[in-house]
């Protein structure tokens, strides 16, 4: 019975916690510029995320170690220095973008400049992390995040053609702006498969003491939660494609993106959009912050855990506090949150091989996962998608920057 409750709660919180600044901005831009044509990218990225999340849970349940701790142990600190630095840098940028996204959400409701909200939001994130345990953080964020289902409801109310939707799942070349199309496909991959999610999930599994007996719960939660979560991202893309593309509005700001809700929700449009954006970003910011603490503590062998009294994990607390402060500094400088998001998610794909390939090696090492090693098809799919994605990102990011 408890496993069933865990499963339902896990799936629901996965849905609620799926959409954040990266998925909203990439899907909104993709929809406004290419209609349904990039739905396949969300589906492919969702499948990749589901496989990786399932693997990180399996690793934690069988080895009782998190991803970062396992990589540290298997490959040594000298090897891990590079992926660790890359992940922390990306997390810093992404955290700044999430805080910026939450601040813009409040700006949409109050009209007060987003920079004024950066520090109060930072303080709220820190207070949540100071006072809440892992379950409260994960489930609280996920349950509040269910407001993001409004993207699915909006798409439903707009009655998209099933045939057109189906065509979007077949990869096809665009009739215009091929570089931009490739950049958005790469960005969708980076926004969906955020590296922090993997270590956050495996650390959570260690904190919640997931055992080998619960591997089926892990598998079902990973695949169902990610599948439903991807549907929310697709809701953003479909709504944007149906409302903004016909008017030829290209999403350059969240204020423009908010207009996508007007035909579906009328007077409630901006409030719902702001809540979805704000809660999604705030939740992701909390997870990113605590994950920075997890990674630092696990790599350097410090005591860690959201469920531990803070005085028993002082260096873990200091690490996430420092990362939060650095991200607040980046956000306060006044970078455009939307551009910061697009840069961070595209860079994520560039560094992805550094993070995913060692993970694949671990998942084929019986010392860590006993007889629960990954299959050849899964290994091949993840390795190919990671490497092709990174090569494509290396090619299109400079072109996009020069073009922009």
């Amino acid at each position: 019975m408890s496993a069933i409750v865990d499963l339902i709660l896990g799936v629901v919180t996965s849905i609620g916690g799926f959409v954040e600044v990266g998925s909203i901005s990439t899907a909104a831009q993709a929809g406004s510029e290419f209609g349904f044509q990039l739905l396949w990218a969300i589906a492919a990225a969702g499948l990749m995320l589901a496989m990786l999340v399932e693997m990180s849970g399996r690793l934690a349940a069988v080895s009782r170690r998190s991803l970062a701790a396992s990589v540290r142990e298997r490959f040594g600190i000298h090897f891990q220095a590079v992926p660790l630095t890359a992940e922390l840098l990306i997390d810093l940028l992404l955290l700044a973008a999430e805080i910026g996204g939450a601040a813009i959400a409040i700006k949409l409701l109050t009209g007060i400049g987003f920079q004024w909200w950066i520090l109060p939001i930072g303080l709220c994130i820190w207070l949540v992390l100071w006072t809440c345990g892992f379950a409260a953080i994960e489930h609280g964020i996920g349950l509040f995040g269910l407001v993001t289902l409004s993207f699915v409801l909006a798409a439903w109310r707009l009655h998209p053609s099933p045939l057109d939707l189906g065509a979007g799942f077949v990869p096809s070349l665009p009739g215009h702006d091929a570089v931009r199309y490739a950049f958005l496909a790469v960005s969708i991959l980076g926004a969906t498969v955020s590296p922090y999610l993997l270590n956050f999930y495996s650390s959570g599994a260690v904190e919640e003491e997931m055992s080998e007996k619960e591997l089926w719960v892990n598998r079902t939660t990973a695949y169902l939660g990610t599948a439903f979560g991807s549907v929310v991202s697709m809701g953003v893309l479909v709504t944007s494609a149906m409302v903004l593309q016909p008017r030829q509005i290209v999403v350059d700001s969240y204020e423009q993106a908010a207009l996508m809700f007007v035909p579906a929700f009328g007077r409630w449009a901006i409030t719902l959009f702001a809540l979805a954006l704000g809660i999604g970003c705030f939740g992701a910011a909390v997870e990113l912050t605590i994950n920075a603490g997890y990674v630092a503590a696990q790599v350097f062998g410090w005591s860690w855990g959201a469920n531990k009294p803070r005085r028993d994990a002082a260096r873990f607390t200091t690490a996430f506090t420092l990362v939060l402060l650095m991200s607040l500094a980046i956000a306060v400088i006044g970078f455009d949150p939307l551009r910061l998001t697009m840069i961070s998610v595209a860079l994520t794909v560039v560094v992805m091989p550094l993070l995913v390939l060692p993970f694949l090696v671990l998942m084929n090492d019986p010392k860590y996962v006993k007889d629960h090693t990954s299959g050849a098809i899964g290994n091949g799919f993840l390795a190919v998608l990671t490497i092709v994605g990174a090569l494509l990102a290396i090619a299109v990011i400079p072109l996009e920057i020069m073009g922009g």
């Binding site: 030829q248 700001s253 073009g403």
Partner: protein, 132 residues
């Protein structure tokens, strides 16, 4: 000698054509963004007139659109060649008009003057064409 001359002419033509197509592409991108911002202005104004969005959001969104037009105009002016081109010069003028119009629309919303706003929305200088 003749072969060298024709190679030189071909190379010059290729470089000139590449330059032209880059310029064309740059102008097309600027035009696309200005048209999008014109369409955004119309959508914000119409949503306010329909009572779908609050004055707070409308002012915030118009202000952000103003900033984006300014940024795009600066980007357009950053390449002198673009401004020499008549299409670039026309875009720059349209952007200037759009900025002034956005300022008027902001005033209309502040004063709650729906009639004036409706009139000003009809004057948006750059909007997406049907041919796209």
């Amino acid at each position: 000698m003749r072969a060298r001359f024709s190679s030189l002419v071909s190379a010059t033509l290729i470089v000139a054509l590449a330059g032209c197509s880059r310029q064309d592409e740059r102008l097309r991108q600027h035009r696309k963004h200005f048209e999008s911002l014109g369409a955004t202005t119309a959508a914000i104004g119409e949503a306010w007139l329909a009572g779908s969005v609050s004055g707070t959001y409308t002012l915030t969104a118009l202000d952000q659109t103003f900033r984006l037009v300014e940024q795009e105009q600066t980007a357009l002016a950053s390449k002198p060649n673009t401004l020499i081109d008549p299409r670039g010069a026309a875009l720059s003028q349209a952007a200037e008009k759009l900025l002034r119009l956005l300022a008027r629309l902001t005033e209309d919303v502040r004063s709650g003057d729906a009639g004036a706003l409706r009139g000003h929305l009809a004057e948006i200088p750059i909007k997406p064409s049907e041919s796209h």
